[in-house]
């Protein structure tokens, strides 16, 4: 177990270097350097000032040296400096991180909980009315673009019914006190989390249903039934536990997209997270921030893989004894 964790943690290093190299090459392909963008935006034309900036940002050196310097600085936890916000990239990202994590974890939580329940019901009542209804809903939510679903939810619940706010994370300019503030954030969170959650839920429902049906057909289930166990016991003690592994795999893949998965929904609901930051940075060619988000994302993926390994280890004794 310790060896497993250690090897996973060591994998972060080549992964991060690979992500940096790949995106560095991509950014080199862009017309104009960051310097050109900065100076044209801030109307700097003085040649002496230009030279000074070129030196300061390292553009007087070859791309290879720039790349090596960047990789070195990443491993000292320095992701560079964003001229736009006039702050270190790491600080900017960390400031936006909590709201994205809140949105994504709530959305994934909704999706896993209700997706698994729906999948179990559909598999137990396979080929009945409930199975058809659940499977149809899953097919539709899997095909609907999340941003469109979000807008439709806004139209119904904010515009027509007036129950929930249209966007943002808090009501601006009102002081509700501590508990009022939490309630305010929850009200803002419901629609974006639901838009994302319904899409993910569709995936979990499909996977859970298929996985349950597969386990139902295995020999040990027949044995359990032959022993005279009640149907409920067979379903929960035998089938459900064994059907969980694909869901865990899926959950791991999903945790890996926790930083990027909400870009579009954040744009719809003006949610102040990593997605909004990323969209703004891509549009304004603020590449230090773009690169920083990618690096952080690589670290998140590595940790997600580690979590999946540990979950497998706990869930499946066959892996433990290997």
């Amino acid at each position: 177990m310790k060896r497993l964790i250690l090897s996973r943690l060591l994998q972060i290093i080549p992964l991060v270097i690979g992500v940096i190299v790949m995106n560095f090459v991509l950014i080199q392909m862009a017309p104009g350097t960051l310097l050109d963008i900065m100076t044209s935006e801030q109307q700097i034309t003085d040649p002496a000032a230009l030279d000074r900036m070129r030196e300061l940002y390292g553009y007087d050196q070859s791309p290879i040296i720039q790349l090596l310097k960047y990789i070195y600085s990443v491993f000292t936890l320095d992701l560079g400096y964003s001229y736009r916000q006039n702050a270190p990239v790491l600080d900017i990202i960390l400031a936006q991180l909590p709201s994205t994590l809140l949105l994504m974890l709530v959305a994934i939580g909704i999706a896993v909980t209700f997706g698994m329940i729906a999948g179990v019901i559909a598999s137990v009542k396979v080929n009945t009315f409930w199975d058809v209804v659940i499977s149809l809903a899953a097919v539709f939510f899997f095909a609907a673009p999340t941003f469109w679903l979000g807008i439709m939810l806004i139209i119904v619940f904010s515009v027509w019914l007036g129950w929930l706010p249209v966007g943002g994370m808090t009501t601006i300019g009102v002081d509700y006190g501590f508990f009022g503030h939490i309630w305010d954030v929850i009200r803002h969170l419901i629609l974006p989390a639901l838009s994302l959650g319904l899409f993910y839920m569709a995936i979990y429902t499909r996977v859970m249903r298929a996985s349950m049906l597969e386990v139902f057909s295995l020999d040990f289930v027949r044995t359990a039934r032959a022993k005279g166990l009640s149907t409920t016991r067979v379903i929960f003690a035998h089938v459900y536990r064994n059907a969980l592994l694909p869901v865990v795999t899926l959950l791991g893949l999903q945790l890996a997209t926790v930083l990027g998965g909400s870009v579009v929904i954040e744009a719809v609901f003006s949610w102040p997270g990593i997605g909004s930051l990323m969209l703004d940075s891509v549009m304004s060619r603020n590449y230090p921030v773009v690169l920083g988000v990618f690096v952080l994302s690589a670290v998140v993926v590595a940790f997600a893989n580690l979590l999946v390994d540990i979950a497998y280890y706990r869930l499946d004794p066959r892996i433990r004894n290997r």
Binding site: M22, V139, I151, I155, L213, L259, V264, M283
Partner: protein, 285 residues
């Protein structure tokens, strides 16, 4: 392998046709294709041109059956021409991803050793970056054209195809018919293309059809965010443009969204049908 190739494909066709969802999906896709192809004949003007007053509701003016958008453009024209953009980008992107993935997966499995190690690491690397972030960045860096959007989606979506192809080739690599080909002195590439590929391709095709569906979603997301090609009609861009008017004219957002949903739905149903037809082992799932 006793059955002849033609009776086998008839068998596939029969199994596909028995799946009602798949047939429904196929009908929807044929309609969308027909709309895309017929668009220039049905509407003989630039779909992005302003034709009438803005915000005309659907079914109120027979000249503009689906109404007009926030600028006064004909929504029906935008939907028809948008179908062209969406189908072109998603099919081309999925094709690019499939070709790339098959080549990378096949080489990794067939040659093994250090090449397998390098290609597998490369696949993992591409899977590390959230798809939508990668697509956004590539489009922003290279420029907002149809070609670049197709390239961006294609270069992002190949890893699952590569992993699947690698697994299929690994399973087939040491089978007797491959050994026979080798002992006959057939070249590597020839065995990979003419002998293994036909046996490895069915599950890849199924995954490819699912990737077309995801490509449609990615293309519409990119256009919605304002990173699409500004010179062509796009369903996602229409939703993005209509967003500010949801209080009065919510239909501008609703209509293109339904078009996206039903097209993606159709592709997924076709994928399920192909899965049933080509992988009979999994039919009862």
């Amino acid at each position: 392998m006793a059955r002849s190739a033609s009776s086998q494909s008839l068998d596939h066709l029969y199994r596909f046709a028995r799946n009602k969802g798949a047939v429904l999906g196929l009908i929807i896709i044929v309609i969308v294709f027909a709309a895309a192809i017929a668009a220039p004949w049905l509407i003989d003007r630039d779909p992005l041109r302003i034709v009438y007053r803005p915000e005309i509701w659907p079914f109120t003016n027979p000249k503009y059956p689906l109404g007009t958008d926030s600028l006064g453009r004909d929504i029906l024209a935008l939907i028809l021409f948008g179908a062209r953009t969406t189908l072109m980008i998603s099919f081309a992107a999925a094709f690019t991803a499939t070709i790339l993935g098959v080549i990378i997966g096949a080489f990794a499995a067939w040659f093994g050793g250090w090449l397998d190690e390098v290609l597998t690491r490369l696949t993992e690397l591409f899977q590390t970056i959230p798809n939508i972030l990668m697509i956004m960045t590539v489009v922003a860096v290279l420029g907002q054209t149809i070609g670049n959007i197709t390239f961006a989606i294609g270069i992002t979506m190949w890893p699952p195809i590569a992993r699947l192809t690698r697994a299929e080739y690994l399973a087939l690599r040491d089978r007797e018919f491959v050994l026979a080909c080798r002992s006959m002195g057939m070249g590597n590439i020839r065995i990979m293309v003419t002998e293994i590929l036909p046996n490895a391709i069915p599950p890849v095709i199924v995954l490819g059809s699912v990737i077309i569906g995801s490509s449609i979603l990615f293309e519409s997301s990119i256009s919605f965010l304002g990173l699409g090609d500004p010179n062509v009609a796009s369903w996602g861009a229409l939703i993005g443009d209509g967003r500010t008017l949801i209080r009065r004219s919510w239909y501008i957002c609703a209509i293109p969204g339904l078009a996206i949903m039903f097209t993606v739905l159709a592709m997924n149903l076709i994928g399920d049908g192909l899965n049933d037809a080509l992988n009979p082992r999994l039919r009862d799932r």
